[in-house]
Symmetry: C2
Protein backbone atom coordinates (compact mmCIF):
# COMPACT_ATOMS: atom_id res chain seq x y z
CA UNK A 1 0.00 0.00 0.00
CA UNK A 2 2.71 2.44 1.11
CA UNK A 3 4.72 1.44 -1.94
CA UNK A 4 1.85 2.13 -4.27
CA UNK A 5 1.37 5.60 -2.77
CA UNK A 6 5.02 6.45 -3.28
CA UNK A 7 4.45 6.07 -6.99
CA UNK A 8 1.65 8.57 -7.19
CA UNK A 9 2.67 11.46 -9.43
CA UNK A 10 2.54 14.19 -6.77
CA UNK A 11 4.85 12.02 -4.65
CA UNK A 12 7.24 11.65 -7.56
CA UNK A 13 7.18 15.41 -8.09
CA UNK A 14 7.83 15.96 -4.37
CA UNK A 15 10.85 13.67 -4.63
CA UNK A 16 12.09 15.47 -7.74
CA UNK A 17 11.78 18.84 -5.96
CA UNK A 18 12.86 17.58 -2.53
CA UNK A 19 15.54 20.20 -1.90
CA UNK A 20 13.26 23.08 -2.92
CA UNK A 21 10.42 21.68 -0.85
CA UNK A 22 12.65 21.41 2.21
CA UNK A 23 13.60 25.06 1.75
CA UNK A 24 9.91 25.99 1.51
CA UNK A 25 9.14 24.11 4.72
CA UNK A 26 12.02 25.86 6.50
CA UNK A 27 10.80 29.25 5.32
CA UNK A 28 7.23 28.47 6.37
CA UNK A 29 8.39 27.48 9.84
CA UNK A 30 10.55 30.59 10.17
CA UNK A 31 7.75 32.91 9.09
CA UNK A 32 4.87 31.47 11.04
CA UNK A 33 6.59 32.54 14.25
CA UNK A 34 5.13 35.52 16.04
CA UNK A 35 7.24 37.49 18.46
CA UNK A 36 4.31 38.47 20.67
CA UNK A 37 1.53 35.94 20.20
CA UNK A 38 2.52 32.29 20.70
CA UNK A 39 -0.94 31.12 19.74
CA UNK A 40 -0.19 32.04 16.12
CA UNK A 41 2.51 29.38 15.51
CA UNK A 42 0.51 26.85 17.58
CA UNK A 43 -2.57 27.19 15.39
CA UNK A 44 -0.56 27.43 12.18
CA UNK A 45 1.57 24.40 13.00
CA UNK A 46 -1.52 22.35 13.79
CA UNK A 47 -2.69 22.84 10.23
CA UNK A 48 0.58 23.11 8.31
CA UNK A 49 2.23 20.09 9.94
CA UNK A 50 -0.91 17.96 9.53
CA UNK A 51 0.48 16.32 6.42
CA UNK A 52 -1.15 18.21 3.59
CA UNK A 53 0.24 17.28 0.18
CA UNK A 54 1.76 20.74 -0.42
CA UNK A 55 0.32 20.46 -3.92
CA UNK A 56 -0.06 24.20 -4.50
CA UNK A 57 3.46 25.26 -3.46
CA UNK A 58 4.80 22.31 -5.44
CA UNK A 59 3.11 23.69 -8.54
CA UNK A 60 4.95 26.98 -8.05
CA UNK A 61 8.30 25.23 -7.64
CA UNK A 62 7.58 22.97 -10.62
CA UNK A 63 6.59 25.85 -12.90
CA UNK A 64 9.65 27.89 -11.95
CA UNK A 65 12.05 24.98 -12.41
CA UNK A 66 10.40 23.86 -15.65
CA UNK A 67 11.03 27.35 -17.02
CA UNK A 68 14.69 27.20 -15.98
CA UNK A 69 14.59 29.47 -12.95
CA UNK A 70 17.72 29.16 -10.79
CA UNK A 71 16.13 30.61 -7.63
CA UNK A 72 15.86 31.84 -4.96
CA UNK A 73 12.46 33.56 -5.03
CA UNK A 74 10.41 30.54 -6.13
CA UNK A 75 10.86 29.43 -2.49
CA UNK A 76 9.23 32.65 -1.22
CA UNK A 77 6.41 32.33 -3.72
CA UNK A 78 5.74 28.71 -2.84
CA UNK A 79 5.61 29.60 0.87
CA UNK A 80 3.30 32.52 -0.01
CA UNK A 81 0.94 30.18 -1.83
CA UNK A 82 0.88 27.74 1.11
CA UNK A 83 0.23 30.60 3.58
CA UNK A 84 -2.69 31.88 1.48
CA UNK A 85 -4.04 28.33 1.26
CA UNK A 86 -3.69 27.78 5.02
CA UNK A 87 -5.40 31.11 5.77
CA UNK A 88 -8.34 30.19 3.56
CA UNK A 89 -8.61 26.74 5.23
CA UNK A 90 -8.74 28.37 8.68
CA UNK A 91 -11.47 30.77 7.54
CA UNK A 92 -13.37 28.09 5.60
CA UNK A 93 -13.58 25.88 8.66
CA UNK A 94 -15.07 28.80 10.61
CA UNK A 95 -17.52 29.59 7.82
CA UNK A 96 -18.57 25.95 7.45
CA UNK A 97 -18.44 25.17 11.18
CA UNK A 98 -16.22 22.19 10.29
CA UNK A 99 -14.94 19.90 12.98
CA UNK A 100 -12.49 17.81 10.99
CA UNK A 101 -9.74 18.63 8.48
CA UNK A 102 -7.09 16.25 7.17
CA UNK A 103 -8.42 13.65 9.60
CA UNK A 104 -7.78 15.83 12.68
CA UNK A 105 -9.98 18.19 14.73
CA UNK A 106 -10.09 21.67 13.17
CA UNK A 107 -8.41 24.70 14.77
CA UNK A 108 -11.80 26.31 15.40
CA UNK A 109 -12.72 23.23 17.43
CA UNK A 110 -9.37 22.91 19.29
CA UNK A 111 -9.02 26.64 20.01
CA UNK A 112 -11.96 28.81 18.91
CA UNK A 113 -13.38 30.68 15.93
CA UNK A 114 -11.69 33.87 17.11
CA UNK A 115 -8.24 32.32 16.87
CA UNK A 116 -8.97 30.85 13.45
CA UNK A 117 -10.16 34.19 12.06
CA UNK A 118 -7.24 36.18 13.45
CA UNK A 119 -4.50 33.65 12.74
CA UNK A 120 -5.87 33.42 9.18
CA UNK A 121 -5.55 37.19 8.91
CA UNK A 122 -2.01 36.98 10.21
CA UNK A 123 -1.08 34.38 7.59
CA UNK A 124 -2.65 36.47 4.81
CA UNK A 125 -0.57 39.44 5.90
CA UNK A 126 2.56 37.31 6.20
CA UNK A 127 1.97 35.94 2.72
CA UNK A 128 1.95 39.47 1.33
CA UNK A 129 5.13 40.28 3.22
CA UNK A 130 6.78 37.18 1.76
CA UNK A 131 5.86 37.96 -1.81
CA UNK A 132 6.89 41.60 -1.41
CA UNK A 133 10.38 40.32 -0.66
CA UNK A 134 10.63 38.99 -4.22
CA UNK A 135 10.62 42.58 -5.45
CA UNK A 136 8.53 41.46 -8.43
CA UNK A 137 5.42 43.59 -8.90
CA UNK A 138 3.85 41.22 -11.42
CA UNK A 139 3.69 38.32 -8.98
CA UNK A 140 2.25 40.67 -6.36
CA UNK A 141 -0.47 41.65 -8.76
CA UNK A 142 -1.24 38.03 -9.73
CA UNK A 143 -1.37 36.72 -6.17
CA UNK A 144 -3.35 39.63 -4.69
CA UNK A 145 -5.87 39.28 -7.51
CA UNK A 146 -6.07 35.55 -6.81
CA UNK A 147 -6.70 36.22 -3.10
CA UNK A 148 -9.59 38.53 -4.01
CA UNK A 149 -10.98 35.96 -6.45
CA UNK A 150 -10.86 33.24 -3.77
CA UNK A 151 -12.88 35.36 -1.33
CA UNK A 152 -15.29 36.30 -4.12
CA UNK A 153 -15.85 32.62 -4.97
CA UNK A 154 -16.49 31.81 -1.32
CA UNK A 155 -18.98 34.67 -0.92
CA UNK A 156 -20.76 33.62 -4.10
CA UNK A 157 -20.95 30.09 -2.71
CA UNK A 158 -22.68 31.39 0.44
CA UNK A 159 -25.72 32.38 -1.58
CA UNK A 160 -25.48 29.87 -4.45
CA UNK A 161 -25.06 26.75 -2.31
CA UNK A 162 -28.69 26.49 -1.19
CA UNK A 163 -30.25 28.09 -4.26
CA UNK A 164 -31.66 25.31 -6.45
CA UNK A 165 -31.68 27.61 -9.49
CA UNK A 166 -27.87 27.60 -9.32
CA UNK A 167 -26.72 26.32 -12.70
CA UNK A 168 -23.47 24.93 -14.01
CA UNK A 169 -22.13 28.36 -14.98
CA UNK A 170 -22.54 29.65 -11.42
CA UNK A 171 -20.98 26.45 -10.07
CA UNK A 172 -18.02 27.00 -12.38
CA UNK A 173 -17.60 30.57 -11.12
CA UNK A 174 -17.58 29.34 -7.52
CA UNK A 175 -15.06 26.60 -8.30
CA UNK A 176 -12.85 28.90 -10.35
CA UNK A 177 -12.84 31.25 -7.37
CA UNK A 178 -12.54 29.05 -4.36
CA UNK A 179 -10.18 26.45 -5.86
CA UNK A 180 -8.82 27.10 -9.35
CA UNK A 181 -7.72 30.72 -8.76
CA UNK A 182 -4.95 29.66 -6.39
CA UNK A 183 -3.87 26.65 -8.50
CA UNK A 184 -3.68 28.93 -11.51
CA UNK A 185 -1.83 31.74 -9.73
CA UNK A 186 0.56 29.23 -8.14
CA UNK A 187 1.59 28.00 -11.61
CA UNK A 188 1.56 31.44 -13.21
CA UNK A 189 3.90 33.11 -10.69
CA UNK A 190 6.38 30.26 -11.13
CA UNK A 191 6.56 31.19 -14.80
CA UNK A 192 6.68 34.93 -14.12
CA UNK A 193 9.54 34.72 -11.61
CA UNK A 194 11.43 32.63 -14.20
CA UNK A 195 10.87 35.44 -16.69
CA UNK A 196 9.22 33.01 -19.11
CA UNK A 197 7.67 34.41 -22.28
CA UNK A 198 4.01 35.48 -22.08
CA UNK A 199 2.56 32.53 -24.02
CA UNK A 200 4.25 30.08 -21.68
CA UNK A 201 3.14 31.95 -18.58
CA UNK A 202 -0.40 31.85 -19.98
CA UNK A 203 -0.06 28.12 -20.58
CA UNK A 204 1.01 27.58 -16.97
CA UNK A 205 -1.96 29.64 -15.75
CA UNK A 206 -4.32 27.69 -18.00
CA UNK A 207 -2.92 24.38 -16.73
CA UNK A 208 -3.49 25.47 -13.11
CA UNK A 209 -6.98 26.73 -13.84
CA UNK A 210 -8.11 23.53 -15.58
CA UNK A 211 -6.35 21.28 -13.07
CA UNK A 212 -7.95 23.18 -10.18
CA UNK A 213 -11.39 22.80 -11.72
CA UNK A 214 -10.84 19.07 -12.33
CA UNK A 215 -9.61 18.73 -8.76
CA UNK A 216 -12.68 20.41 -7.26
CA UNK A 217 -15.19 18.57 -9.44
CA UNK A 218 -13.51 15.29 -8.48
CA UNK A 219 -13.65 16.28 -4.81
CA UNK A 220 -17.33 17.11 -5.08
CA UNK A 221 -18.03 13.78 -6.78
CA UNK A 222 -15.99 11.81 -4.24
CA UNK A 223 -18.19 13.26 -1.53
CA UNK A 224 -20.94 10.95 -2.82
CA UNK A 225 -18.60 7.97 -3.04
CA UNK A 226 -17.98 7.52 0.64
CA UNK A 227 -14.78 7.60 2.63
CA UNK A 228 -12.03 9.00 0.41
CA UNK A 229 -9.41 9.14 3.12
CA UNK A 230 -10.11 12.82 3.83
CA UNK A 231 -12.06 12.03 6.97
CA UNK A 232 -15.26 13.32 5.36
CA UNK A 233 -18.44 11.24 5.42
CA UNK A 234 -20.41 10.19 2.40
CA UNK A 235 -22.95 12.85 1.49
CA UNK A 236 -21.59 15.65 3.68
CA UNK A 237 -22.30 18.23 0.97
CA UNK A 238 -25.92 17.08 0.72
CA UNK A 239 -26.36 17.22 4.49
CA UNK A 240 -24.59 20.60 4.68
CA UNK A 241 -26.90 21.90 1.91
CA UNK A 242 -24.01 22.69 -0.41
CA UNK A 243 -25.03 22.22 -4.05
CA UNK A 244 -22.29 20.66 -6.15
CA UNK A 245 -22.13 19.59 -9.77
CA UNK A 246 -23.73 16.11 -9.40
CA UNK A 247 -26.74 17.63 -7.64
CA UNK A 248 -26.93 20.56 -10.04
CA UNK A 249 -27.02 18.14 -12.97
CA UNK A 250 -29.75 16.07 -11.30
CA UNK A 251 -31.79 19.20 -10.57
CA UNK A 252 -31.49 20.36 -14.18
CA UNK A 253 -33.11 17.06 -15.25
CA UNK A 254 -35.66 16.93 -12.42
CA UNK A 255 -39.42 16.57 -12.91
CA UNK A 256 -41.83 18.47 -10.63
CA UNK A 257 -41.77 15.88 -7.82
CA UNK A 258 -38.01 15.66 -7.86
CA UNK A 259 -37.72 19.43 -7.87
CA UNK A 260 -39.92 19.52 -4.76
CA UNK A 261 -37.51 17.02 -3.15
CA UNK A 262 -34.49 19.26 -3.84
CA UNK A 263 -36.40 22.33 -2.75
CA UNK A 264 -37.30 20.72 0.57
CA UNK A 265 -33.90 19.17 1.33
CA UNK A 266 -31.53 21.85 -0.02
CA UNK A 267 -33.36 25.18 -0.29
CA UNK A 268 -35.48 24.72 2.85
CA UNK A 269 -33.08 22.34 4.60
CA UNK A 270 -35.80 20.07 5.96
CA UNK A 271 -34.06 16.70 5.67
CA UNK A 272 -35.43 13.36 6.80
CA UNK A 273 -33.94 9.88 7.16
CA UNK A 274 -33.56 8.27 3.72
CA UNK A 275 -33.14 11.60 1.91
CA UNK A 276 -29.47 11.03 1.12
CA UNK A 277 -30.34 7.66 -0.43
CA UNK A 278 -33.05 9.34 -2.47
CA UNK A 279 -30.63 12.06 -3.59
CA UNK A 280 -28.13 9.39 -4.68
CA UNK A 281 -30.88 7.53 -6.48
CA UNK A 282 -31.93 10.69 -8.39
CA UNK A 283 -28.35 11.50 -9.35
CA UNK A 284 -27.88 7.98 -10.65
CA UNK A 285 -31.22 7.94 -12.45
CA UNK A 286 -30.22 11.07 -14.37
CA UNK A 287 -26.67 9.85 -15.01
CA UNK A 288 -25.47 12.89 -13.06
CA UNK A 289 -22.56 11.11 -11.39
CA UNK A 290 -21.23 9.73 -14.66
CA UNK A 291 -21.68 13.09 -16.41
CA UNK A 292 -19.80 14.79 -13.58
CA UNK A 293 -16.97 12.29 -13.89
CA UNK A 294 -16.76 13.03 -17.62
CA UNK A 295 -16.64 16.74 -16.88
CA UNK A 296 -13.72 16.29 -14.49
CA UNK A 297 -11.98 14.16 -17.14
CA UNK A 298 -12.54 16.92 -19.70
CA UNK A 299 -10.90 19.54 -17.50
CA UNK A 300 -7.97 17.24 -16.78
CA UNK A 301 -7.51 16.82 -20.54
CA UNK A 302 -7.59 20.58 -20.99
CA UNK A 303 -4.95 20.91 -18.26
CA UNK A 304 -2.72 18.40 -20.06
CA UNK A 305 -3.21 20.06 -23.43
CA UNK A 306 -2.11 23.40 -21.97
CA UNK A 307 1.28 21.85 -21.22
CA UNK A 308 1.98 21.16 -24.90
CA UNK A 309 3.95 24.34 -25.59
CA UNK A 310 6.09 23.99 -22.46
CA UNK A 311 9.61 22.53 -22.49
CA UNK A 312 9.92 18.74 -22.77
CA UNK A 313 11.11 17.85 -19.29
CA UNK A 314 10.42 15.25 -16.56
CA UNK A 315 8.58 17.99 -14.63
CA UNK A 316 6.19 18.51 -17.52
CA UNK A 317 5.43 14.78 -17.55
CA UNK A 318 4.77 14.78 -13.83
CA UNK A 319 2.43 17.77 -14.12
CA UNK A 320 0.59 15.90 -16.85
CA UNK A 321 0.39 12.78 -14.67
CA UNK A 322 -0.94 14.84 -11.76
CA UNK A 323 -3.82 16.02 -13.94
CA UNK A 324 -4.57 12.37 -14.74
CA UNK A 325 -4.23 11.37 -11.11
CA UNK A 326 -6.76 13.95 -9.96
CA UNK A 327 -9.47 12.21 -11.95
CA UNK A 328 -7.98 8.71 -11.72
CA UNK A 329 -9.19 8.79 -8.09
CA UNK A 330 -12.63 8.52 -9.68
CA UNK A 331 -12.03 5.14 -11.29
CA UNK B 1 -23.69 71.93 18.43
CA UNK B 2 -23.24 71.22 14.72
CA UNK B 3 -21.14 74.39 14.46
CA UNK B 4 -18.90 73.31 17.26
CA UNK B 5 -18.32 69.94 15.61
CA UNK B 6 -17.38 71.61 12.35
CA UNK B 7 -14.47 73.22 14.15
CA UNK B 8 -12.98 70.01 15.40
CA UNK B 9 -9.49 69.53 13.95
CA UNK B 10 -10.24 66.36 11.98
CA UNK B 11 -13.16 68.19 10.37
CA UNK B 12 -10.88 71.07 9.44
CA UNK B 13 -8.38 68.61 7.97
CA UNK B 14 -11.17 66.93 6.01
CA UNK B 15 -12.14 70.32 4.59
CA UNK B 16 -8.53 71.11 3.72
CA UNK B 17 -8.18 67.77 1.92
CA UNK B 18 -11.73 67.71 0.50
CA UNK B 19 -10.76 67.07 -3.13
CA UNK B 20 -8.37 64.24 -2.21
CA UNK B 21 -10.92 62.74 0.14
CA UNK B 22 -13.59 62.79 -2.58
CA UNK B 23 -11.17 60.94 -4.88
CA UNK B 24 -10.54 58.36 -2.15
CA UNK B 25 -14.27 57.83 -1.67
CA UNK B 26 -14.72 57.39 -5.43
CA UNK B 27 -11.91 54.86 -5.57
CA UNK B 28 -13.29 52.96 -2.58
CA UNK B 29 -16.71 52.75 -4.20
CA UNK B 30 -15.22 51.60 -7.51
CA UNK B 31 -13.09 48.90 -5.90
CA UNK B 32 -15.59 47.45 -3.45
CA UNK B 33 -17.62 46.20 -6.38
CA UNK B 34 -17.52 42.49 -7.09
CA UNK B 35 -18.40 41.17 -10.51
CA UNK B 36 -19.79 37.89 -9.21
CA UNK B 37 -20.85 38.34 -5.61
CA UNK B 38 -23.27 41.23 -4.95
CA UNK B 39 -23.18 40.58 -1.22
CA UNK B 40 -19.64 41.99 -1.11
CA UNK B 41 -20.53 45.61 -1.96
CA UNK B 42 -23.68 45.36 0.19
CA UNK B 43 -21.75 44.42 3.32
CA UNK B 44 -18.89 46.79 2.55
CA UNK B 45 -21.19 49.74 1.87
CA UNK B 46 -23.05 49.12 5.14
CA UNK B 47 -19.83 49.74 7.01
CA UNK B 48 -18.01 52.20 4.77
CA UNK B 49 -20.98 54.51 4.25
CA UNK B 50 -21.87 54.47 7.95
CA UNK B 51 -20.16 57.79 8.52
CA UNK B 52 -16.79 56.85 9.95
CA UNK B 53 -14.43 59.80 10.28
CA UNK B 54 -11.98 58.46 7.66
CA UNK B 55 -9.25 59.42 10.10
CA UNK B 56 -6.73 56.83 8.89
CA UNK B 57 -6.93 57.57 5.14
CA UNK B 58 -6.86 61.26 5.99
CA UNK B 59 -3.55 60.76 7.76
CA UNK B 60 -2.11 59.23 4.58
CA UNK B 61 -3.34 62.11 2.46
CA UNK B 62 -2.11 64.66 5.02
CA UNK B 63 1.35 63.10 5.28
CA UNK B 64 1.76 62.93 1.50
CA UNK B 65 0.60 66.51 0.96
CA UNK B 66 2.65 67.84 3.87
CA UNK B 67 5.72 66.35 2.22
CA UNK B 68 4.85 68.00 -1.10
CA UNK B 69 3.56 64.96 -3.01
CA UNK B 70 1.65 65.98 -6.17
CA UNK B 71 -0.24 62.67 -6.51
CA UNK B 72 -1.80 60.46 -7.68
CA UNK B 73 -0.88 57.40 -5.60
CA UNK B 74 -1.65 58.88 -2.18
CA UNK B 75 -5.28 58.27 -3.20
CA UNK B 76 -4.62 54.54 -3.71
CA UNK B 77 -2.76 54.32 -0.43
CA UNK B 78 -5.50 56.12 1.49
CA UNK B 79 -8.12 53.75 0.02
CA UNK B 80 -5.83 50.82 0.89
CA UNK B 81 -5.65 51.98 4.50
CA UNK B 82 -9.44 52.35 4.72
CA UNK B 83 -9.94 48.87 3.19
CA UNK B 84 -7.55 47.31 5.70
CA UNK B 85 -9.34 49.17 8.51
CA UNK B 86 -12.78 48.05 7.26
CA UNK B 87 -11.61 44.43 6.94
CA UNK B 88 -10.34 44.46 10.52
CA UNK B 89 -13.62 45.97 11.77
CA UNK B 90 -15.61 43.19 10.04
CA UNK B 91 -13.41 40.52 11.60
CA UNK B 92 -13.30 42.24 15.03
CA UNK B 93 -17.07 42.29 15.21
CA UNK B 94 -17.14 38.54 14.51
CA UNK B 95 -14.42 37.89 17.10
CA UNK B 96 -16.13 40.05 19.73
CA UNK B 97 -19.66 38.99 18.80
CA UNK B 98 -20.51 42.71 18.56
CA UNK B 99 -23.99 43.83 17.67
CA UNK B 100 -23.42 47.54 17.20
CA UNK B 101 -20.81 49.58 15.33
CA UNK B 102 -20.96 53.30 14.62
CA UNK B 103 -24.46 53.32 16.14
CA UNK B 104 -25.82 50.74 13.64
CA UNK B 105 -26.28 46.97 13.75
CA UNK B 106 -23.07 45.16 12.78
CA UNK B 107 -22.71 43.24 9.51
CA UNK B 108 -22.41 39.95 11.41
CA UNK B 109 -25.83 40.69 12.90
CA UNK B 110 -27.48 41.92 9.67
CA UNK B 111 -26.01 39.19 7.47
CA UNK B 112 -23.99 36.53 9.29
CA UNK B 113 -20.49 35.76 10.58
CA UNK B 114 -19.68 33.92 7.36
CA UNK B 115 -20.27 37.02 5.24
CA UNK B 116 -18.25 39.20 7.60
CA UNK B 117 -15.28 36.81 7.55
CA UNK B 118 -15.27 36.39 3.77
CA UNK B 119 -16.01 40.00 2.83
CA UNK B 120 -13.22 41.01 5.22
CA UNK B 121 -10.90 38.65 3.35
CA UNK B 122 -12.01 40.16 0.06
CA UNK B 123 -11.23 43.68 1.29
CA UNK B 124 -7.81 42.60 2.57
CA UNK B 125 -7.02 41.17 -0.86
CA UNK B 126 -8.38 44.26 -2.61
CA UNK B 127 -6.25 46.47 -0.39
CA UNK B 128 -3.15 44.60 -1.52
CA UNK B 129 -4.21 44.93 -5.14
CA UNK B 130 -4.66 48.68 -4.67
CA UNK B 131 -1.27 49.22 -3.11
CA UNK B 132 0.42 47.04 -5.74
CA UNK B 133 -0.84 49.55 -8.31
CA UNK B 134 1.41 52.21 -6.79
CA UNK B 135 4.42 50.24 -8.01
CA UNK B 136 6.24 51.20 -4.81
CA UNK B 137 7.73 48.20 -3.02
CA UNK B 138 8.51 50.14 0.15
CA UNK B 139 4.88 51.00 0.82
CA UNK B 140 3.94 47.37 0.14
CA UNK B 141 6.43 46.25 2.72
CA UNK B 142 5.23 48.80 5.31
CA UNK B 143 1.53 48.06 4.88
CA UNK B 144 1.84 44.27 4.74
CA UNK B 145 3.96 44.38 7.90
CA UNK B 146 1.31 46.58 9.52
CA UNK B 147 -1.43 44.10 8.57
CA UNK B 148 0.54 41.30 10.23
CA UNK B 149 1.13 43.43 13.33
CA UNK B 150 -2.59 44.21 13.59
CA UNK B 151 -3.50 40.51 13.55
CA UNK B 152 -0.71 39.77 16.03
CA UNK B 153 -2.04 42.42 18.42
CA UNK B 154 -5.55 41.00 18.16
CA UNK B 155 -4.36 37.44 18.82
CA UNK B 156 -2.31 38.62 21.79
CA UNK B 157 -5.42 40.38 23.10
CA UNK B 158 -7.37 37.10 22.96
CA UNK B 159 -5.22 35.61 25.71
CA UNK B 160 -4.19 38.81 27.55
CA UNK B 161 -7.68 40.28 27.92
CA UNK B 162 -8.84 37.95 30.70
CA UNK B 163 -5.43 37.33 32.27
CA UNK B 164 -5.15 39.50 35.39
CA UNK B 165 -1.37 39.23 35.33
CA UNK B 166 -1.42 41.27 32.10
CA UNK B 167 0.74 44.30 32.78
CA UNK B 168 1.14 47.67 31.10
CA UNK B 169 3.86 46.43 28.77
CA UNK B 170 1.58 43.70 27.38
CA UNK B 171 -1.27 46.22 27.10
CA UNK B 172 1.03 48.49 25.13
CA UNK B 173 1.93 45.64 22.77
CA UNK B 174 -1.75 44.92 22.15
CA UNK B 175 -2.54 48.59 21.53
CA UNK B 176 0.49 49.11 19.31
CA UNK B 177 -0.73 46.14 17.28
CA UNK B 178 -4.44 46.49 17.09
CA UNK B 179 -4.57 50.29 16.75
CA UNK B 180 -1.27 52.15 16.44
CA UNK B 181 0.26 49.96 13.70
CA UNK B 182 -2.25 51.15 11.11
CA UNK B 183 -2.12 54.82 12.23
CA UNK B 184 1.65 54.67 12.01
CA UNK B 185 1.76 52.91 8.64
CA UNK B 186 -0.90 55.27 7.26
CA UNK B 187 1.33 58.26 8.06
CA UNK B 188 4.56 56.54 7.04
CA UNK B 189 3.44 55.53 3.54
CA UNK B 190 2.30 59.11 2.89
CA UNK B 191 5.88 60.19 3.49
CA UNK B 192 7.36 57.32 1.49
CA UNK B 193 5.21 57.91 -1.59
CA UNK B 194 6.28 61.60 -1.41
CA UNK B 195 9.89 60.41 -1.42
CA UNK B 196 10.54 62.30 1.83
CA UNK B 197 13.94 61.88 3.49
CA UNK B 198 14.27 59.03 5.99
CA UNK B 199 14.24 61.16 9.16
CA UNK B 200 10.97 62.77 8.10
CA UNK B 201 9.38 59.45 7.20
CA UNK B 202 10.42 58.20 10.64
CA UNK B 203 8.87 61.28 12.24
CA UNK B 204 5.59 60.64 10.45
CA UNK B 205 5.62 57.01 11.60
CA UNK B 206 6.40 58.09 15.17
CA UNK B 207 3.55 60.61 15.09
CA UNK B 208 1.10 57.93 13.93
CA UNK B 209 2.33 55.42 16.50
CA UNK B 210 2.01 57.83 19.44
CA UNK B 211 -1.28 59.25 18.20
CA UNK B 212 -2.70 55.77 17.75
CA UNK B 213 -1.69 54.80 21.27
CA UNK B 214 -3.20 58.02 22.70
CA UNK B 215 -6.37 57.33 20.69
CA UNK B 216 -6.77 53.79 22.02
CA UNK B 217 -5.98 54.68 25.64
CA UNK B 218 -8.56 57.49 25.42
CA UNK B 219 -11.09 55.06 23.92
CA UNK B 220 -10.49 52.57 26.70
CA UNK B 221 -10.89 55.28 29.31
CA UNK B 222 -14.06 56.67 27.71
CA UNK B 223 -15.58 53.21 28.03
CA UNK B 224 -15.82 53.89 31.77
CA UNK B 225 -17.21 57.39 31.26
CA UNK B 226 -20.54 56.42 29.81
CA UNK B 227 -22.05 57.19 26.44
CA UNK B 228 -19.36 58.70 24.24
CA UNK B 229 -21.47 58.87 21.10
CA UNK B 230 -20.08 55.57 19.81
CA UNK B 231 -23.20 53.67 20.80
CA UNK B 232 -21.23 51.70 23.39
CA UNK B 233 -22.49 51.40 26.95
CA UNK B 234 -20.57 52.40 30.05
CA UNK B 235 -18.43 49.52 31.26
CA UNK B 236 -18.70 47.32 28.14
CA UNK B 237 -15.03 46.33 28.43
CA UNK B 238 -15.53 45.25 32.05
CA UNK B 239 -18.62 43.23 31.16
CA UNK B 240 -16.88 41.74 28.09
CA UNK B 241 -13.91 40.79 30.29
CA UNK B 242 -11.46 42.85 28.29
CA UNK B 243 -8.72 44.26 30.49
CA UNK B 244 -7.76 47.81 29.57
CA UNK B 245 -5.30 50.27 31.07
CA UNK B 246 -7.54 51.67 33.87
CA UNK B 247 -8.27 48.14 35.12
CA UNK B 248 -4.64 47.04 34.72
CA UNK B 249 -3.52 50.01 36.82
CA UNK B 250 -6.11 49.23 39.51
CA UNK B 251 -5.06 45.57 39.56
CA UNK B 252 -1.39 46.53 39.93
CA UNK B 253 -2.33 48.44 43.10
CA UNK B 254 -4.82 45.85 44.39
CA UNK B 255 -4.68 44.23 47.83
CA UNK B 256 -5.60 40.55 48.28
CA UNK B 257 -9.36 41.16 48.51
CA UNK B 258 -9.37 43.40 45.49
CA UNK B 259 -7.30 40.90 43.54
CA UNK B 260 -9.89 38.25 44.35
CA UNK B 261 -12.56 40.62 42.96
CA UNK B 262 -10.69 41.01 39.67
CA UNK B 263 -9.97 37.31 39.51
CA UNK B 264 -13.65 36.47 39.94
CA UNK B 265 -15.05 39.10 37.55
CA UNK B 266 -12.41 39.13 34.79
CA UNK B 267 -10.40 35.88 34.91
CA UNK B 268 -13.33 33.64 35.90
CA UNK B 269 -16.04 35.86 34.41
CA UNK B 270 -18.47 35.36 37.29
CA UNK B 271 -20.03 38.79 37.43
CA UNK B 272 -22.86 39.90 39.74
CA UNK B 273 -25.02 43.01 39.97
CA UNK B 274 -23.02 45.87 41.47
CA UNK B 275 -19.67 44.59 40.16
CA UNK B 276 -19.25 47.37 37.60
CA UNK B 277 -19.82 49.95 40.36
CA UNK B 278 -17.24 48.19 42.51
CA UNK B 279 -14.76 48.11 39.60
CA UNK B 280 -15.25 51.86 39.09
CA UNK B 281 -14.82 52.43 42.81
CA UNK B 282 -11.54 50.51 42.84
CA UNK B 283 -10.21 52.34 39.80
CA UNK B 284 -11.02 55.67 41.41
CA UNK B 285 -9.63 54.64 44.80
CA UNK B 286 -6.29 53.84 43.13
CA UNK B 287 -6.33 56.95 40.93
CA UNK B 288 -6.26 54.61 37.92
CA UNK B 289 -8.59 56.72 35.78
CA UNK B 290 -6.58 59.90 36.32
CA UNK B 291 -3.29 58.06 35.75
CA UNK B 292 -4.70 56.63 32.50
CA UNK B 293 -5.73 60.10 31.37
CA UNK B 294 -2.21 61.36 32.06
CA UNK B 295 -0.80 58.47 30.04
CA UNK B 296 -2.98 59.36 27.04
CA UNK B 297 -1.89 62.99 27.39
CA UNK B 298 1.76 61.89 27.44
CA UNK B 299 1.37 59.95 24.18
CA UNK B 300 -0.42 62.89 22.55
CA UNK B 301 2.50 65.11 23.54
CA UNK B 302 4.93 62.61 22.07
CA UNK B 303 2.90 62.63 18.84
CA UNK B 304 3.07 66.42 18.68
CA UNK B 305 6.79 66.48 19.42
CA UNK B 306 7.43 64.11 16.53
CA UNK B 307 6.01 66.72 14.15
CA UNK B 308 8.72 69.27 15.04
CA UNK B 309 11.09 68.41 12.20
CA UNK B 310 8.33 68.42 9.57
CA UNK B 311 7.62 71.42 7.30
CA UNK B 312 5.79 74.37 8.84
CA UNK B 313 2.41 74.10 7.14
CA UNK B 314 -1.30 74.31 8.05
CA UNK B 315 -1.47 70.52 7.72
CA UNK B 316 1.19 70.11 10.39
CA UNK B 317 -0.83 72.34 12.72
CA UNK B 318 -3.96 70.30 12.09
CA UNK B 319 -2.14 67.04 12.79
CA UNK B 320 -0.91 68.56 16.04
CA UNK B 321 -4.45 69.68 16.91
CA UNK B 322 -5.79 66.19 16.17
CA UNK B 323 -3.38 64.76 18.75
CA UNK B 324 -4.72 67.27 21.27
CA UNK B 325 -8.30 66.54 20.29
CA UNK B 326 -7.92 62.80 20.84
CA UNK B 327 -7.25 63.41 24.53
CA UNK B 328 -9.33 66.61 24.83
CA UNK B 329 -12.35 64.28 24.64
CA UNK B 330 -11.26 63.24 28.13
CA UNK B 331 -11.72 66.67 29.73
Amino acid sequence: MRDEIAHQPHERLAKHLAADLAAVNDLIRARMISEHAPRIPEVTAHLIEAGGKRLRPMLTLAAARLMGYPGPYHIHLAATVEFIHTATLLHDDVVDGSEKRRGRPTANLLWDNKSSVLVGDYLFARSFQLMTETGNLEVLSILSRAAATIAEGEVLQLTAATDITTDESVYLKVVRGKTAALFSAACEVGGVIADAEAAKVDALAAYGDAMGIAFQIADDLLDFWGDDGTGKNRGDDFRDRKLTLPMIKAIAAADADERAFWDRTIAKGRQEPGDLEQALHLMEAHDALEATRAEARGWADRAKAALDILPDDPIREMLSDIADYVVARLN
